[in-house]
Symmetry: C2
Subunit: 353 residues, 2 copies
């Protein structure tokens, strides 16, 4: 069996033991609170990890675009949630084709989206289940009030080919109370209107361990939790020892005593800072700071390090944001300890829509 | 012939007329100053544009990693400059294989890099040409002084299998005088030591139109100039009318009067701000601000707009940084005016090293 030290760089390493521990920890937490998990696969885009999460107890998976749904359906997964406004003839046709072979559910936040879905599914053998997306504080998509949620639910329920399935939100991190207040009010209004929601779907890794406080929710959709990353650690969602995705890089230059250059730049680590200082944590040199990224170079300030990496050394970097890193690479390498288990294609990356 | 309006979103559009105009403008400028151009293909990663630049007069192309060099060599390009420290047995073997079929030149900034190259090429039929990378102010790779450049040139010249070819720098933007001073001093030292450099290679689009002020340089390596982007426009290197790469996106949500959501997020536009406000310019709504990116959503503030986009409208976005956008997509669509010419694979993306 080959070792990590045999790999060429830059490479994305995925620690299988940590992946499994992260999935189990979240499933155990959800089970203990009677909450369902519908994990988001945008982070890894790998059918095998989608299946692993379901084997551990997830009720289905979440995807963020049709291309991801198609790859997951091809791999045999049949319970797929796509919380996105699907519009336009090309995408609606793809959605309809998916609906004929798997159980796929979508969201809408406007009457226009609902109208497009209804026109497409009016003649379908089985109706399409549509949830109302609610903006409970994130400031992205979503209806703006519980009253608007009820109104759109009524529109869905009255639309040929569609079934109203419930509510969905991607909440603002840390705003647990506001999220609960919105969802609970919308739930009450729906029940009063005889449209009791089957699903109330909450999301996000930052507030994963507070998911049970949103008592209106029936399920949670964490994504990054499978890999964790420097941002989630900064939010105390996990520790660096839980981070399953690392970028393996080589020190290709040591121009000065305090400067090292690695062969991983913005085309490997991405420029996502998520408000943090620097572009990742170097596991072997935690005092080092990745202060700059060119496209194929990372610039490291070693001035705070007592021990310093030398030319030709390899290092492993926990990126700020794991999801955007795995989206950059055609392949990732699965590891266990220092062993290389397998290099696999990132099945669902690079898809248009 | 299909039209842009027939395309699904998000999509990367490349305006062929602007590409050709940008390449010609730079070649004419270089010709008028007796400067050679060796364009950097990292921006587009497309063999056809590499060939187009050479047809217009470029002396060769520049690549940033072996994977790009291999794709370009496969397409028939035989004059390739790879300004990177190549080390490690896997990459050195790939470099040697490339050297057997094309004229490839590399850089080094340390005796260790030179030693690895020499050990690999000592038995080669033809020696490998190596340039000394100089840090003339960028603070990335490179020897730190003209004296160090001379010393490393002497090491290269004394190494079996290698030929000293000259100097290379990627300078700090705006520091034209410091760049010229370093290169000129190094050139003088090399001439005095009977190691006159054949090539002195300067780079970058930000100071492209000042390249002739670096009189020590024999050539320039611009990259982004082929597409231009919002950052280059902010530096007055070109205008928005010169920007050849745009991201086509759809308004998928209009949650409030002042907010629109597009189906292009950080996995399409990237989080690169390069110090600017927002994540790109919307051509049709220049007063709009792209204030936030999730992975598959972009959040737009319309409060400064008199005219506002509606649900389902498509918009074209000039990204902050074109190079990292084309790296995210497996395919780009070539256009001329409103016509779709062809959708092509981004040949050299997704390569490891």
């Amino acid at each position: 069996m080959s070792k990590i030290s045999d790999l060429d760089t830059p490479a994305v390493l995925i620690d299988l033991d940590r992946v499994e521990a992260n999935l189990k920890r979240a499933q155990d937490y959800a089970d203990s609170h009677g909450l369902k998990l519908r994990p988001h696969i945008k982070t890894h885009k790998l059918p095998r990890f989608a299946r692993l999460a379901m084997d551990l107890g997830a009720v289905g998976i979440t995807v963020q675009k049709l291309g991801e749904a198609e790859v997951m359906a091809d791999s045999g997964i049949t319970e797929i949630f796509l919380p996105y406004n699907i519009l336009g003839s090309a995408k609606l046709a793809r959605l309809k084709a998916l609906h004929e072979r798997v159980h796929i559910t979508v969201t809408a936040d406007s009457a226009q989206t609902v109208a497009g879905l209804s026109a497409t599914f009016a003649d379908a053998a089985e109706p399409l289940t549509v949830l109302v997306e609610c903006d409970t504080g994130m400031g992205r998509c979503g209806v703006q009030s519980p009253e608007a949620a009820l109104a759109l639910a009524q529109t869905i329920a009255a639309s040929p080919g569609l079934v109203f399935g419930g509510l969905m939100t991607y909440p603002a991190a840390g705003q647990v109370e506001a999220n609960q207040a919105f969802l609970s009010a919308a739930q009450d209004a729906l029940i009063a209107a005889d449209l009791a929601p089957t699903i109330i779907s909450n999301g996000g890794t930052p507030d994963l361990w507070r998911a049970h406080e949103v008592t209106a929710a029936t399920e949670h959709r964490p994504g990054t939790y499978i890999y964790m990353d420097r941002f989630q650690v900064s939010k105390d969602v996990g520790g660096f020892d839980d981070c399953a995705l690392t970028v393996l890089a080589t020190i290709v230059s040591r121009p000065t005593d305090d400067r090292a250059i690695i062969d991983a730049g913005s085309k490997a680590l991405t420029s996502d800072t998520l408000g943090m200082d620097g572009f990742g944590l170097i596991e072997e040199y935690p005092e080092a700071r990745i202060v700059g990224l060119s496209e194929e170079h990372g610039t490291i300030d070693l001035s705070a390090c007592t021990d310093k990496p030398q030319f030709g050394d390899t290092v492993r970097i926990i990126p700020n944001h794991a999801c955007v890193v795995s989206n950059l690479f055609d392949h990732v390498t699965l590891i266990s300890g220092d062993d290389v288990v397998e290099t696999v294609a990132v099945g669902a990356r690079g898809r248009v829509g």
